[in-house]
Symmetry: D3
Subunit: 240 residues, 6 copies
Amino acid sequence: MTAREDGRADDELRPITITRHWLDHAAGSVLVEFGRTKVLCAASASEGVPRWRKGSGLGWVTAEYAMLPASTNTRSDRESVKGRIGGRTHEISRLIGRSLRAVVDYEALGENTIQLDCDVLQADGGTRTAAITGAYVALADAVSHLRSTGALKGEPLTGSVAAVSVGIIDGTPRLDLPYVEDVRAETDMNVVMTGAGSFVEVQGTAEGAAFDRAELDALLDLAAQGCVDLTRLQQEALAR
Amino acid sequence: MTAREDGRADDELRPITITRHWLDHAAGSVLVEFGRTKVLCAASASEGVPRWRKGSGLGWVTAEYAMLPASTNTRSDRESVKGRIGGRTHEISRLIGRSLRAVVDYEALGENTIQLDCDVLQADGGTRTAAITGAYVALADAVSHLRSTGALKGEPLTGSVAAVSVGIIDGTPRLDLPYVEDVRAETDMNVVMTGAGSFVEVQGTAEGAAFDRAELDALLDLAAQGCVDLTRLQQEALAR
Amino acid sequence: MTAREDGRADDELRPITITRHWLDHAAGSVLVEFGRTKVLCAASASEGVPRWRKGSGLGWVTAEYAMLPASTNTRSDRESVKGRIGGRTHEISRLIGRSLRAVVDYEALGENTIQLDCDVLQADGGTRTAAITGAYVALADAVSHLRSTGALKGEPLTGSVAAVSVGIIDGTPRLDLPYVEDVRAETDMNVVMTGAGSFVEVQGTAEGAAFDRAELDALLDLAAQGCVDLTRLQQEALAR
Amino acid sequence: MTAREDGRADDELRPITITRHWLDHAAGSVLVEFGRTKVLCAASASEGVPRWRKGSGLGWVTAEYAMLPASTNTRSDRESVKGRIGGRTHEISRLIGRSLRAVVDYEALGENTIQLDCDVLQADGGTRTAAITGAYVALADAVSHLRSTGALKGEPLTGSVAAVSVGIIDGTPRLDLPYVEDVRAETDMNVVMTGAGSFVEVQGTAEGAAFDRAELDALLDLAAQGCVDLTRLQQEALAR
Amino acid sequence: MTAREDGRADDELRPITITRHWLDHAAGSVLVEFGRTKVLCAASASEGVPRWRKGSGLGWVTAEYAMLPASTNTRSDRESVKGRIGGRTHEISRLIGRSLRAVVDYEALGENTIQLDCDVLQADGGTRTAAITGAYVALADAVSHLRSTGALKGEPLTGSVAAVSVGIIDGTPRLDLPYVEDVRAETDMNVVMTGAGSFVEVQGTAEGAAFDRAELDALLDLAAQGCVDLTRLQQEALAR
Amino acid sequence: MTAREDGRADDELRPITITRHWLDHAAGSVLVEFGRTKVLCAASASEGVPRWRKGSGLGWVTAEYAMLPASTNTRSDRESVKGRIGGRTHEISRLIGRSLRAVVDYEALGENTIQLDCDVLQADGGTRTAAITGAYVALADAVSHLRSTGALKGEPLTGSVAAVSVGIIDGTPRLDLPYVEDVRAETDMNVVMTGAGSFVEVQGTAEGAAFDRAELDALLDLAAQGCVDLTRLQQEALAR
């Protein structure tokens, strides 16, 4: 077993920064940083819901994820220029949307839509988990904003969500993988949990060799601890 | 707790049929049926690999998933007509490819590409798990075909893969969900395992309420048992 | 003059199979086989008509044709992945739609739409003529289905349609060309006829050398005979 | 039987004008007019052939058809703006290409490509047949141009092609239909013939009622006569 | 300083031709020629306005520009075939629309839309300025047409617009550049002016070296004179 | 004449901030702020040039501009999701590229490509001029980076470029318009100048009424002064 390049303990998060109100226009906006990974999460609130939901009295929350071309080590092409959205982008957008919707009470939200935009400004592993963690805070701010304008009265948030990546590197389970660890991981897992400690999403992938039940259990333990820490950081940010 | 509509036990698979050599042209082709779910899995083998892999001496395996418009209860629009592939399709294509690649030795495959096409002819829940289970058999046939033509000598398959869905319905964990159960599931999980009993992919999603560790464990147990059964059925089909 | 590879007489159809109710969901569904050519024809019925026809009291029938990637000898790329539908696909979809509409009484159909999906599972020449022949049977089943649900009362079908290919190979007119004959044909013609023996579409193309009136006449005679046989097979299938 | 709105006999062409050298850049360019239908046909010659034909020693001829938005009675949307080419456009482009290739000797053409662009400036029925008739003349000019630059020596044109529409209106077969007749035709047929009087393409469609063999024969006779006239007009234009 | 290839004085326009009523269908249509540059400008009038303007009582004027593939020296690919509109096309379409809207009184136009289509049949420099100059005349004809049908009563045109290119070649400012001069210009400017002599658009670009204020002033003087001449030619054409 | 909402003098820039090295990966990266307008400019350097320039010994510089969905007052749709890039985006990308290329010596750059990505994080008017001003600094950093790695030796930058907007509001010429002024401007002009005081681009548009020569002159004077100030700020940033 070798030490981590950045000197962290195996069960230690990277330095996490959650900066609220980063933009002036959006109802909620957060610049979230997991080490060198920087994601700008903006929540835009609008009256009304998509056509298929009209008249239901229920609200809607959705998300889009994207990476700026220069966010990665080697510049990647713009999806708008290619004219199509890649599978990975689609997959992550859907994951973020599902994760947030797990803590939304649509009835309390009323026929309002909150759209989360998670744009990766700099990528160093864990962009989807940073996005979910930051987007929750932006969502909470957007909900407060809607309440302050009188657009809603109850509490549409039934809890909080946070997410973290875990993986097995050289046989050792590690928390919150930066890019250098991510590419070397034998197994890679993203875990989304509520602030109350339940699972919202568990996505584990054998990158190298298939993993057994004991490894899976170790990864879940590690992720659960990381989500507890992230939940606390979210609450501190929202209390500021 | 209520009985299942189709009378199965909670830990029982639907009737599974694996019909090999369903097409004349493809190197391997399988019509796989999980109850009323029917997926046509075709493996096309070609010399050479994608550009980014040329000269590496390594092979490649990839997959595409799609649903025929009339495969679902209510006809769905053709993605070719819409001019873009939806996020769900992308996501499942990527899952199938990753799952198969987990048991491929690229070096033994040499610079050959095997392309799996999984087209859902009829959908009744579990289309992605049926696709993986059937695609493995088509892949095995394509490998045999390549060996028979002298295109490869070693054994590029390091094992087998099978997949099954599990979910919690009315508080009860159940195996291999048809559509009627899938839409009612509080938690929904797709598990891909090797024939040797290790995990390749674990994807669990809280559809209704978040799930706790005990529920997660129960689902994993159920899925592991289902994959054992599917592995046996794959072996029987390949032995015919 | 050489004998046909499959031993048929020049004016003989390949073995034709018409299997109804191949799918559970669609209002009508047929697996039609012309030798090794297999096309799955599904008819989906829905209330209402396209916008430009609303309030007219008239129904609508339309069709889409596509080939599965592995249906051909050498795998062809998916049109959904390419993001655009090719000219040949467009052309055949339009041909199938026109052919079926030739026997539809829109007023008797009322403001209902029937959408035909013809997906080629395996291609060995004559896919468009097989598609038309099978789609008619699926359409007839969908009409019966609509009548059984009370959605219509009269008879929207004014007749039946069937289609067959003919061509000149080595100077000899032949009926129902498989792929090996199709590529060698000097002239290639697709003929769509009603059960009553009238022409709906005649599309003849000089692939090699231009053809004269006598050759055209011989091909039309051959096609007319083939359509009589196909009409009988359709009626037998519908009587089962 | 009623007289034609424009006073023509049933077997009479509209006034036909073939203006060569309409553009300065293209190797061959023709403004062809069938009555009020105006199509600009430009032939661009370039060294080399598409990738799949390289090294074969054979040339290639291809065509693209399009309509200007304001060419029709009611403005139609631009296909470039819609981002996709419609089925009708595809179909006609393919027809023009096939028709011209019927009189091309690829070996004599050598590895040169001639691209025909047929842009409808004003549409009043028969745009595809006017396009083929004009495109042949532009092609002949492009071939002369190539010969004058020394790019080819032999004669790549084995004959000429011309095309005309015919149809049955109120039970009467008529030649060269303008828009007002086209929309009322029970049966509509486009016929492409060589200057030597053989058929290259025959495309007949029952718009209203299916047609019988006698009607088909009458239409073919009418079209054959029209193509003789058009061939003479092409020759006169090329002789100027 | 060298003489111009076509013998013109530096402040002299190419021969300008403005042919009205070139098409039968469009409300206004003009073939405008600046030397060998030929642009077909068609104005289509329709009742109603785009959705975002409904109920405002205001009209709308918009424009689309495109080049035929064979209009240029070397054939260029069709944007409809490429499936996307290039930046240059977009830019020029927007410029034409803005230029025309500068002389439109939306209130007097009422809820009518006039769509200008400017299709370049032959390109020899200055296509965008020819398009604006011709489109104004087509627009004026469309307005007269609307008035003659009673669709409007007042005068929606508050003036006229014309446009011309200027540039510095070998240090000398020149008016109305053909292609051979355009490619050699150090600075290139397109100027749109009203008939009353005010500026609507000034777009100057340093192609080779940046330009100073004195050069800019000289170009503006030259363009202003050119627009005076073009305005006179527009008025003469409209008076015919 | 009314005072400006933000209290600035008519010829005064908004507070300008140029933060270098904002990203870790890109060869050059700048967060440029013109008041509340924030644009992230990243310069990615790569060996080699586009295909059409290979073997020429010359380098290439290009740019892409885009806005994040939440950067504007009201969220705008993602161009990647719409599947096409809008005309405005295309136009600005091209403007930025041309502006930077005006100060690049391709020979000194050698066969290297520098790609500028200008992503608007927050928009409050003047995004294109902020982008050009920031992109120049990122370009200068990327050039230094290339020199430090030995990829080039000479000086590919022949000068600097900066850009600013000017406009006439209520009859008064003003410098550097924020959104509230931009929407009210009668005339709007973007001016790109070199550090040496020459013009690279002048783009003036009459939004309301056409403008006369005196107004044009006043705007050019104002812009020239603004560019002098911006050039100084660029130099100070690069000196840090």
